[in-house]
């Protein structure tokens, strides 16, 4: 695999920045370049590799319609209730919940007296949902969600980005490092550097996005999924 580990990625960035080994300012700023690059790519590409089955399993409580979720979740992809109560992912039957607005839940299931197996959920905040109807038993859940993988570091020497999207990762890091090199302004020695890396990044992102759309089977509009850039004209 023609990717990077932490050391080779650092060397590559250092080389592109024309920085000396053990250059202390570079050592200080380099982790921030990783944060910038990773967050930007994760946000813009919505990589399927960041979708996981969230653990620990969130169990519902009979009579409580609000549920707190693990704070590792960035965005929920799907929630299924495992029935009957007490069953697990291997023994239970999945009943996927339909995402709706909070208004819909509040209008259709206004209280906790009418209970049953939940059929819908609405986001209340980043890590809390409300269910309708209110659970009548302590069902387990299966949540698939987008999360943020651990960042590349000396103790986490490779990531999906460093191994599978190394070119894009480098371009994103170099946009940030252009700021470190003060190559953003007209007075700088190479004012076009940041724009050049930005353009490179955008091109690489476009090609990576095509693959991601194929992984998700993204299609036409009228879905909670992002609209595929290759599905033109839109249907629905």
């Amino acid at each position: 695999m023609a990717g990077y580990d932490y050391a080779s990625f650092k060397t590559a960035i250092q080389t592109l920045c024309a920085s000396q080994a053990l250059d202390q300012p570079f050592e200080t700023i380099f982790p921030s370049a990783i944060i910038y690059a990773e967050n930007r790519i994760y946000r813009e590409l919505d990589l399927i590799s960041t979708v996981i089955e969230v653990t620990p399993v969130t169990a519902l409580v009979a009579g409580e319609r609000s549920v707190s979720l693990p704070q590792t979740i960035v965005a929920i992809n799907s929630i299924s209730i495992l029935t009957p109560a007490g069953s697990t992912a291997t023994t239970g039957t999945r009943k996927p919940l339909v995402p709706v607005t909070r208004d819909v839940v509040d209008m259709l299931w206004p209280g906790v007296d009418t209970r049953g197996v939940p059929t819908m959920f609405a986001m209340i905040d980043q890590w809390k949902i409300t269910l309708g109807p209110c659970p009548d038993d302590a069902y387990a859940t299966e949540i698939l969600a987008t999360t943020r993988p651990a960042e590349l570091s000396s103790s986490n020497s490779s990531t999906f980005l460093s191994e599978r999207l190394p070119d894009l990762f480098v371009a994103a890091a170099m946009i940030f490092m252009s700021g470190y090199m003060r190559n953003f302004g007209a007075q700088a020695s190479d004012p076009a550097q940041a724009m050049s890396w930005e353009a490179t990044y955008e091109k690489l992102k476009g090609s990576a996005l095509v693959e991601e759309e194929r992984k998700y089977f993204w299609g036409s509009s009228w879905s909670s999924q992002p609209i595929s850039t290759t599905a033109q004209p839109q249907r629905g």
């Binding site: 339909v98 995402p99 709706v100 607005t101 208004d103 819909v104 509040d106 209008m107 259709l108 299931w109 206004p110 209280g111 009418t114 049953g116 819908m120 109807p133 009228w222 879905s223 909670s224 629905g236």
Partner: protein, 231 residues
């Protein structure tokens, strides 16, 4: 391949609303309180229109009214849309129990009766459809026998309340017609570009549902020709 073996599918009012919005191209994650409030209103108005347009067989029930001698007029449940068949029962609960059909007359025909206080076994009735409707019998019940008035009546469809999984008071084979009828009403506000095709489909589904909402029995029409013969 196994089949479900169950026959329990019955959309709740809330599910009908969500489906109707999806027919309008509105996702469930777009719907706000105003959408739901409009849908509740539209659903109830739609069901009310069903109640006024046709006798809905699923809303028919039998009402029994014990008649009081010398009293011609009796209150009728205001949710009654029409009275279909009525009969007078005498000797209720005994071996001599007997039913005799009575016929509807109009206000004009009732007004034309010269002696409205005449007491005898009732033979006709007038259903006065005011806001607090009544049924008036002619002749006025006498005290010679105990009479029971039995009538089958059609009521309006019950209110639709989408909360708490309540279902709509309608047979399963009407659900698609209700969903498309509701979608058409909502489309006037939320999907005007879809009104025409939703209206066409809603009309055709309503026609199909009504065609099923009948008693499948022969209809006999016989002229009364007895008057043409002399004895």
């Amino acid at each position: 391949m196994a089949t479900s073996g169950t026959y329990d599918f019955n959309l709740s009012g809330g599910e009908l609303i969500l489906y109707a919005y999806s027919l309008c191209g509105k996702k469930r994650t777009e719907l706000l309180a105003e959408h739901m409030a409009d849908a509740r209103t539209a659903l109830n108005m739609l069901l009310a229109s069903f109640g006024t347009e046709t006798p809905n067989l699923w809303t028919v029930d039998e009402v029994v009214e014990t008649l009081v001698p010398s009293t011609a007029t009796y209150s009728v449940d205001p949710y009654t849309v029409m009275i279909l068949d009525a009969f007078i029962r005498t000797g209720a609960g005994t071996e001599s129990q007997s039913d005799r059909i009575i016929w509807p007359i109009s206000r004009t025909e009732y007004a034309a009766m010269p002696n409205k206080t005449l007491e005898a076994p009732p033979t006709v009735f007038w259903f006065d459809r005011v806001l607090s409707p009544t049924i008036t019998l002619w002749q006025t019940p006498d005290d010679q026998q105990d009479y029971e008035l039995h009538y089958y009546r059609c009521t309006v469809v019950q209110d639709a309340e989408p909360a708490n999984g309540q279902t709509v008071q309608a047979p399963r084979f009407w659900q698609l017609a209700i969903a498309f009828g509701l979608a058409e009403l909502l489309a006037h506000t939320y999907a005007p570009d879809r009104v025409d095709r939703l209206a066409l489909k809603a009309a055709s589904l309503l026609r199909e549902a009504r065609e099923q909402d009948v008693e499948n029995v022969p209809l006999y029409i016989a002229p009364m020709v007895g008057g043409y013969y002399r004895r």
